[in-house]
Point group: C2
Chain length 434, copies 2
C-alpha cells in the first residue's frame, strides 16, 4: 500500500477501505508517512468528504492510535458530554458533579480554550490548586473514588489526533465534517464511555455560524458514535448569545457554582438541566427525560451536586472552599462598567466579539504559548430580550491591565444591538438528534 | 501574509494575487514554507484550478526562482521545442540541428525519461562521450559557437520546479493543467527563448490519453506562453502508435540520424518537418509554413542538417562519427524477433505497453536511481495500417539480459491488434493552436 495511491483514491472521490484508513493513521502516527502526504490527503478529504463507514473507520483508527481506557470494573454506565465550544459555556462544571452525584461515573477529558471560546481546563485551573494533569492511572483512581475526574488530554490518548489536528490547523483543513467528527469522537471514545451527549453549538459565538453545517456535524457525530456501539444523543443548541452571563475563567467557575447550588441563571441552568437529563437517561439512571430533569432538580436542591463538586475539587488538589466562598477564586484588581448604548431591548449580541473582548483582557490565548489570567473577564447584566436604559451598566469588565481596556471596550462597542421593541424569542435547543 | 490563508483562499475557490503567488513560491524555494503547507495548497489547486492570470504568475514566479538566461547577445530569434513525452519520440535530435542549421539559436534544456517514455538526455548519452552536463556558462559558449546546445536541467534553472515536481509526484497532484503548464513553461522560458513550439501528445503512448484533457493542456500552454510575451504555437499530435519505428536510446539516435540524412520514416519525418517549419516561422527564418517545410527539405538534402549534428556532438564531447557509422553506437549483444500474431492489417497498437516492453529490457528506468542500458530496445517492422502475415517479424527486440526477455515479450503480446481490413487512417496532427 502506497500513501500516494490512497491520496489519489480520495482525490478521485473514492472511498477508502478500513484497511487503507488504518494503514494511513498507524503509519502517520509513528512518522512513517510524512506530513506532506497527510496534508495532501487531508485536503482531498476536505474536498471529497467521507462516507459514514470511512468516518467511523477513521475515528476508530485514531482512537486506537493510543490507549483506550477500559472502565468496565466501575459499576454503572460511564457517560460524558462534549461541547463544540461557545462563549460562556461552563456547563461541564455543573454537569459533571450532578451526573456523578446521580451515581454514573463521568470520566471527562477536556480541552483548553480555542480562539474566542474558553476551555474547561482553563476554568478548572482558576480554582486554586486544581490539578488537571493527572496520569491515566491517577485519573482511574480518582474516578473510582469520587465518581468523576476532569483532566486534560494526555500523550497516551489518541496521539494521531494531536498530530493531525496540528497539521490541519496550518493547512486550512479544519472545517471538514468527517475530520471534526473523527477528532472529537476518537478522544471521547478513548475515555471508555458507554454513552455520550453532544452539545453542538450554532450561532454568533460558535465555530459553526449557520444551522445547516451545524446540523450536518451533529448528525455525523450522532451517526458515527452510534455506529461505534455507543449511546449517543446530539443537541443543536443556540450560541447566538453568551451562555449565562459570565465570560472569563474564575467568573465562570463562580457562575457554575451558583447554578450547582440552585440559583436561576436563565439559559445556563436550562441547558445544564437538559444535558444532565439526557446523560441520566442514556446512562440508565432515569427512564425519561422528565425523570432525568427531576433527578437534576433533587440533586441540586439537596446539596448533593455541590457536595460532589467539593469532593472532585479536593480529590484533584484544589481548594473546595471556593464552592462556598467564591472570593477565594482569583479576583481582578479593577473593574469598569460598560454602559448601554441606547434605551430599549437587547435584540442581538455578537457572542464572538464578546468572547474576544474577554480574551484581550487576558481570559484567553491569542497564541498557544500565551498565559491566561484566571481573574479577568466580563459579566453581562442583560440577556437578549431584556430592557435597558441608555447609560446603565450593560456589562462589567474585570481586568488587571488597564492598557488592555480600550481594545476590549472597542470590541464590545459593536457587539450589542438595541431595538425599541422586544425581539422574537428563539429556542435554546433547536433540535435533538437521537 | 500567512501560507495557511493562501491555502484557505484557494481551497475556497479564490484567485491568488501575483504578490501572493510570488510569496508562496519564493518562500517555498528557500524552505521558508514547509512541504506540508505546499502539499495542501497543491491539492487545493488540483481541485479548484487556476485562472490564466494565476497560471502566468505561477509560471513567472517559478521561472524567477532561479537564473533566467539572457541570450540577447546572440543574433537571431532563439527558438525551442518541447514535447509532453511519447514513445519513440526522438524529434528533438532531428529538429535541433535542422533549426540551428537554418541560423536560429536553439538553447535546448531537456529531461530524462519518465515512466514509459524516453528522454532526450538519455538518447544523447547513448552517443559515446556526449556530455549533457554543461554548466550554464559552457552552455552559453557552445550555443554561441555552434548555434545549438543540448543539456539537462541545472540547479540554477527553476529550482522551484524541481522541488514542486518532487512533491507533486508523491502527493497525487501531478495531473493538473495549471501545474503542468507552469512546470513546463517555467523551465523553457528560463532558457531565454523568444519562441516555443509545443508538441502536446495524445493517445495510448502519451500521458494524456484523451483528446479533451490534451486540448486543455495545449490551450493552457499556448495561452500562458503568449501572455508571457513569447511567440508560442501548440500542436496536438497523435501518440496512438510509436513515433517512427525505434524505441530505445541508441536505436532512436540511429533512426533520428537516418531522418536527418533524408530517409523516409513515415510519421517521424512528417512530424519533424512540421515542427521545424513552425520553429522557422516563429523565429522569422521563414514567412510561411510551406516555406518553412521547404527550408527543412533543403537543409536535409544539402547535408547541412547532418553536418550541424556532427558539430553539436563534437562540441559536447561526443563522437561525431556516429552520424556516418551507426555501428559506433552501443550495440546489444542479442536480438530476437517478435512474430506477428495473425495475418491482416495492423489496426492499433498500445504504445504505452511497447514503451514499457523497451523499459523492462533496460531502455528506461523503473526508479530514478536505475541505470539505463543505451543499447537495448526494440524496432517495429510494421506501422498501423500495414499488412502482415502471421509469423513474420512484427518487431525485433535488442537485449543484453535474456532473463528480461519473457517480461518484455509478454508486454508486447497484448500491444497489437490485427484486423482483416485496413483501419481508417488518423491524422498525425489533430489541431494546431496559434
Amino acid at each position: 500500500m502506497r500513501p500516494e495511491e490512497l491520496i489519489r483514491k480520495k482525490r478521485d472521490a473514492g472511498a477508502l477501505t478500513r484497511e487503507e484508513i488504518f494503514f494511513l493513521i498507524e503509519h502517520y502516527t509513528r512518522d512513517a508517512i510524512p506530513d506532506y502526504q497527510m496534508a495532501a490527503w487531508l485536503m482531498a478529504v476536505f474536498w471529497r468528504g467521507m462516507t459514514p463507514a470511512e468516518t467511523a473507520d477513521l475515528t476508530e483508527a485514531m482512537m486506537r492510535s493510543g490507549q483506550v481506557l477500559d472502565l468496565s470494573e466501575l459499576p454503572g454506565a460511564k457517560v460524558d458530554k462534549h461541547s463544540t465550544g461557545g462563549v460562556g459555556d461552563k456547563t461541564s462544571l455543573v454537569i459533571a458533579p450532578v451526573v456523578a452525584a446521580a451515581g454514573l461515573p463521568v470520566p471527562m477529558i477536556s480541552g483548553r480554550g480555542l480562539g474566542h471560546t474558553g476551555g474547561t481546563l482553563d476554568k478548572l485551573e482558576a480554582i486554586p490548586g486544581f490539578n488537571v494533569r493527572l496520569t491515566l492511572p491517577e485519573f482511574r483512581r480518582a474516578l473510582a473514588e469520587v465518581g468523576c475526574a476532569l483532566i486534560g488530554q494526555t500523550a497516551e490518548i489518541a496521539p494521531a489526533d494531536r498530530k493531525l489536528y496540528a497539521l490541519r490547523d496550518v493547512t486550512a483543513t479544519v472545517e471538514s465534517i468527517p475530520l471534526i467528527t473523527a477528532s472529537i469522537l476518537s478522544k471521547k471514545l478513548a475515555e471508555g464511555i458507554d454513552a455520550l451527549v453532544l452539545d453542538v453549538k450554532v450561532g454568533s459565538g460558535a465555530f459553526m455560524k449557520d444551522r445547516e453545517s451545524a446540523t450536518r456535524l451533529a448528525r455525523s457525530l450522532q451517526e458515527i458514535g452510534t455506529r461505534m456501539g455507543k449511546r449517543v444523543v446530539a443537541l443543536l443548541t443556540n450560541m447566538d448569545q453568551v451562555l449565562g452571563r459570565a465570560v472569563g475563567n474564575a467568573l465562570e467557575v463562580e457562575e457554575a457554582v451558583a447554578v450547582l447550588k440552585g440559583e436561576e441563571r436563565e439559559d445556563l441552568r436550562a441547558l445544564c438541566r437538559q444535558l444532565c437529563a439526557w446523560m441520566l437517561v442514556l446512562g440508565g439512571a432515569a427512564q425519561t427525560l422528565e425523570e432525568g430533569g427531576q433527578r437534576y432538580d433533587e440533586l441540586v436542591r439537596s446539596g448533593a451536586a455541590a457536595e460532589k463538586f467539593r469532593q472532585i475539587i479536593a480529590r484533584q488538589g484544589g481548594d473546595p472552599r471556593v464552592v462556598d466562598d467564591p472570593r477565594r477564586l482569583p479576583q481582578a484588581r479593577e473593574r469598569r462598567d460598560f454602559p448601554a448604548p441606547a434605551s430599549g431591548y437587547l435584540a442581538r449580541m455578537d457572542a464572538e466579539r464578546i468572547g474576544r473582548a474577554a480574551m484581550v483582557l487576558g481570559a484567553g490565548r491569542a497564541r498557544v504559548e500565551d498565559a491566561i489570567d484566571p481573574a479577568v473577564g466580563l459579566v453581562l447584566h442583560k440577556k437578549v430580550g431584556e430592557r435597558m436604559e441608555q447609560g446603565e451598566p450593560l456589562a462589567t469588565l474585570y481586568f488587571n491591565h488597564a492598557e488592555r481596556l480600550a481594545d476590549a471596550s472597542a470590541r464590545l462597542e459593536g457587539a450589542f444591538r438595541v431595538e425599541p421593541s422586544p425581539p422574537k424569542p428563539t429556542p435554546l435547543v433547536f433540535e435533538t438528534l437521537t
